[in-house]
């Protein structure tokens, strides 16, 4: 009997409310940028700060309006964007070009709401160039990119942590200049604690999937982390994730799962596509194979123990640690924030093959995986493509490993036939492996 999450609706509502606030806010501040950035500084400007983030927005638009999404991407290409650029980016810019915005509640608002400022990060080749293009198209929106230098265990490198802190500190002056508002450290510090808390709570939820049966599947995981991406600085967000953790803990205690039939446990590296492409998920499900751990859903907006003396672990961080953090000064808060953000698994893998490999090894071991599924994203300039091919080379002889191309939101580039073929083969190889064959 598969379990139904009680908290599901509240998550959807939280997400939609955030987008509605951004789309329809009559006053207050509209802030745009990768929500894959430290968000708390924005909240130092007040509670009436509404955020829209590139990746989560593009992803949810594609999830909510597949056909619109396809047209958005085409519109961006017609507008001259690169045929091989990030398709999250193209979908996002496509909405600007078409002067409309889709909201997760299923409505489309005519007239693209112009942001007051753009606050974002830069790590891959495109992250901040994305918003340069948006800014250009909207006639020059002030843009502050933070150089998220690093990869590997950057969060342990004081020179990098300081570099990121200094940029945020200057960023705060910039925010005051641009908005003419006074920056409240009190608000900022509160938001910082919330932000870190949510990231740690999500890490705890994910780690519970180490149990068998894993309480959550990829489809739920991909739907449950966006709120943390959209705006994780609020009390509401913290409460959501506390309640989620509670509920999933209870599932584990009672041995329940959203998909109880789990013959094979799969570790997945790639942007979640099984959500948008049930036909692939179905092949796995029919064979009782479930993705129980994935670096994208876990590590994009979640923190774990990570590197402890050069050894990676997906074990969770005790949420109480967050309450104990000393955030008495602005610099304290910035430092804590820089460390937590630099500690995101997805980023540590971007520019460090050894970190990526260690994460994969740890995930396979800690989540007791029967197979490794690698799905590099064709258009992704970050770690959702880097190193993946080499990983197949490295892991293939250790456990059943399959690799096929996928895409974030551009269905035109997905390898549906190939991924179906290879998924069937994957199941076959895991069967054989269990029997002591392949």
């Amino acid at each position: 009997m598969s379990y139904t999450l009680k908290i599901w609706k509240d998550f959807k509502n939280y997400q939609s409310t955030c987008y509605r606030n951004y789309a329809y806010a009559s006053e207050g501040l509209r802030c745009m940028g990768s929500t894959w950035s430290p968000l708390a500084p924005l909240k130092g400007l007040g509670d009436d700060v509404y955020i829209i983030g590139g990746e989560p927005h593009a992803a949810s638009t594609a999830g909510t309006f597949p056909e619109e999404a396809r047209e958005d991407i085409v519109a961006a290409e017609v507008a001259g964007l690169g045929f091989h650029s990030c398709s999250y980016l193209k979908l996002f810019v496509g909405e600007v070009v078409r002067d409309q915005i889709g909201i997760t509640d299923g409505t489309i608002k005519e007239g693209y709401p112009r942001p007051d400022l753009i606050w974002t990060t830069h790590l891959c080749n495109l992250h901040s160039k994305w918003y340069q293009e948006v800014s250009r198209r909207l006639g020059g929106v002030p843009l502050y990119p933070i150089d998220m230098i690093g990869g590997g265990d950057a969060e342990k490198d004081p020179k990098i942590v300081n570099y990121v802190c200094d940029q945020m500190e200057e960023g705060i002056d910039w925010l005051e200049r641009i908005t003419g508002r006074e920056f409240s450290d009190e608000r900022f510090i509160k938001a910082t604690r919330n932000e870190i808390k949510v990231l740690v709570l999500w890490g705890n939820v994910c780690a519970l999937n180490m149990h068998a049966p894993a309480p959550l599947d990829e489809r739920r995981l991909i739907a449950l982390f966006p709120p943390a991406m959209v705006d994780r600085t609020t009390d509401a967000a913290v409460q959501l994730y506390e309640r989620l953790l509670e509920e999933v803990r209870h599932m584990v205690e009672t041995g329940e799962s959203v998909v109880p039939y789990q013959r094979f446990r799969i570790v997945y590296f790639g942007l979640a596509h099984t959500y948008g492409h049930p036909e692939i998920a179905r092949i796995l499900r029919d064979a009782g194979a479930e993705i129980v751990a994935s670096v994208y859903t876990f590590g994009t907006a979640g923190n774990f123990r990570g590197f402890v003396d050069k050894q990676w672990s997906w074990k969770p961080i005790d949420p109480a640690w967050v309450d104990g953090l000393d955030l008495s000064t602005r610099r304290d808060a910035l430092t804590a924030l820089a460390k937590i953000v630099l500690g995101w698994p997805t980023w540590q893998g971007v520019r460090s093959y050894w970190a990526l490999e260690q994460m994969a090894r740890a995930m396979v071991a800690e989540f007791n995986a029967d197979g490794l599924l690698l799905a590099p994203t064709r258009s992704c300039e970050t770690d959702f493509r880097n190193g993946y091919i080499a990983m197949q080379r490295i892991f293939k002889n250790e456990l059943p490993t399959i690799e096929y191309d996928t895409e974030t939101v551009d269905v035109r580039k997905m390898d549906i036939p190939g991924s179906k073929r290879k998924t069937e083969l994957f199941v076959h190889l895991m069967e054989a492996h269990k029997k002591g064959g392949a």
């Binding site: 085409v74 290409e77 017609v78 507008a79 001259g80 045929f83 551009d410 269905v411 035109r412 580039k413 997905m414 390898d415 549906i416 036939p417 190939g418 179906k420």
Partner: protein, 283 residues
Amino acid sequence: MNEYASINEKLDWTGAKRIVAGIDVGAVSSKALVLLDGEPYAFSQVRTQRPGESAANALNAVSRRTGLMPENIHYTVATGRGRSQVTFARETVSEIACGAAGAVRIWGPSVRTVLDAGGESCKVIHCTEKGRATSFLWNDKCAAGIGRYMETFAGLVQKKVTEIGNIALQSEQFPKLSDFCPVYAQSEALDSIRSKVPLEQVIAAYHNAMAKRLSILVGRAGLKKDLVIIGGLARNPGIIHWLESILKVSNLAPKLEWDPAMTVALGAALFAESSYRGPESRT
């Protein structure tokens, strides 16, 4: 169609003052077009295999049809991807300039955008009312070979390339194929055998996808009206239908009296005509 030649019976070359030829050595087929005193007289088309030979073959096809011998031709201009191999041409001009010149000669001075949908490449050309190219966009690598892949696709569905275009008109509803890359589209089409999609729908979907890809190139270059389409794919009603509906334009269908695949060769012939008459004739 391995060799084909047509002739304007109303004209007679024996009395002509100026006999010039345009040779368009394309990636898939080579065409020759002869002007008599500036009027289109004969046209031929052969497969391109060895560009030099194919160019000659195209001209010979005209000779066989008309008795007009290569030595009777006063001036020849070569164009197309294989133009450098046409040893008997007096000069060469790019298919961009020729496409613009030819299109305006056929469709008139209102033409501003020419979509040349050929066998191996697609170009979008902007031009003046006098047929001078002012800018162009060449297909990106992922949109190469749409024309030849259409032939291959016809083979896979076991139809003639001349008939699939009409079959494509039979369905408006179908599961979409990738409109990013012909190889993906081909693979997805083959995969749709499994989902038992009716063949005419697969054919329609493939045309829709390729037309979508072409329309992205047109949009990217900028659609200035009037738009006309030339090249081999312009003969394909399915492509025309979907281009019209995607780009929201009309009358893309070829003129009855004019084979759009001849347009670039006509342009080359126009260059030959003006070169033969001398610089003063240049517009």
